[in-house]
């Protein structure tokens, strides 16, 4: 069965720090990868997605992710976080398989 692993369960950063959240997916099958964000009290919404092509994908709000096939990874990055980035972040693989989520807390 396909799976997605997010090893960082809770991350605490200060504003302006750089962010990298890990996402690893299992071998085999179609690789469509997504990152979603859930701000406090809000719906899950899409940050970015990768289907094929350029492995560096840019999303909304300054987020980007890099697909590294050899490492089965699709890590989410942001050079400088803001307090408003405090949220829960989910990596998803092709429709049904989500990681367990990473709770990001940004301290002002």
């Amino acid at each position: 069965a396909q799976s997605v692993s997010q090893h960082n369960h809770h991350v605490i950063l200060s504003e302006a720090a750089s962010l990298e959240l890990g996402c690893n997916y299992s071998y085999g099958g179609t690789v469509n990868l997504f990152w979603y964000v859930q701000y406090p009290g809000q719906h899950l919404q899409l940050l970015l997605k990768y289907f094929s092509g350029d492995p560096l994908v840019k999303g909304i709000k300054g987020f980007e992710a890099e697909f590294i096939k050899s490492k089965f990874s699709f890590n989410l990055r942001k050079p400088s976080v803001q307090w408003s980035d405090t949220a829960e972040y989910f990596c998803q693989r092709r429709a049904l398989t989500f990681g367990s989520g990473t709770r990001l807390q940004v301290q002002p």
Partner: protein, 114 residues
């Protein structure tokens, strides 16, 4: 345009009662998904519908859970004889097709079984 809506937003029920949760997807979206979100557990897939195909029920945790989608639009998730472990947020999402599009999520229904 209108997004995915779910009702009720909150539901408190007694153990052993049946509950129905409703989802109105975005018009024209052929794929509809139900997930369960528990604290620290991420999103657990329950069931999805794609067009007129038979639904994929492989994520339903027990036969107390069932779902239907009428007319390719509104969906209802039913939990019979609720148990305390059913307490969670139930999320519905829809997408234009299965697997190749982002999913649009509703606000969820928070179910509390006492």
């Amino acid at each position: 345009g209108a997004g995915v809506s779910q009702s009720p937003s909150n539901k408190v029920t007694e153990k052993g009662k049946d509950v129905e949760l409703r989802c109105d997807p975005i018009s024209g979206h052929t794929a509809l998904y139900w997930y369960r979100q528990s604290l620290g557990q991420g999103l657990e897939f329950l069931i999805y519908f794609q067009g007129n195909s038979a639904p994929d029920k492989s994520g339903l945790p027990s036969d107390r859970f069932s779902a239907e989608r009428t007319g390719g639009s509104v969906s209802t998730l039913t939990i019979q004889r609720t148990q305390q472990e059913d307490s969670a947020v139930y999320l519905c999402a829809s997408s234009p097709t299965y697997g190749w599009d982002e999913q649009y999520f509703g606000p969820g229904t928070r179910l509390t079984v006492t």
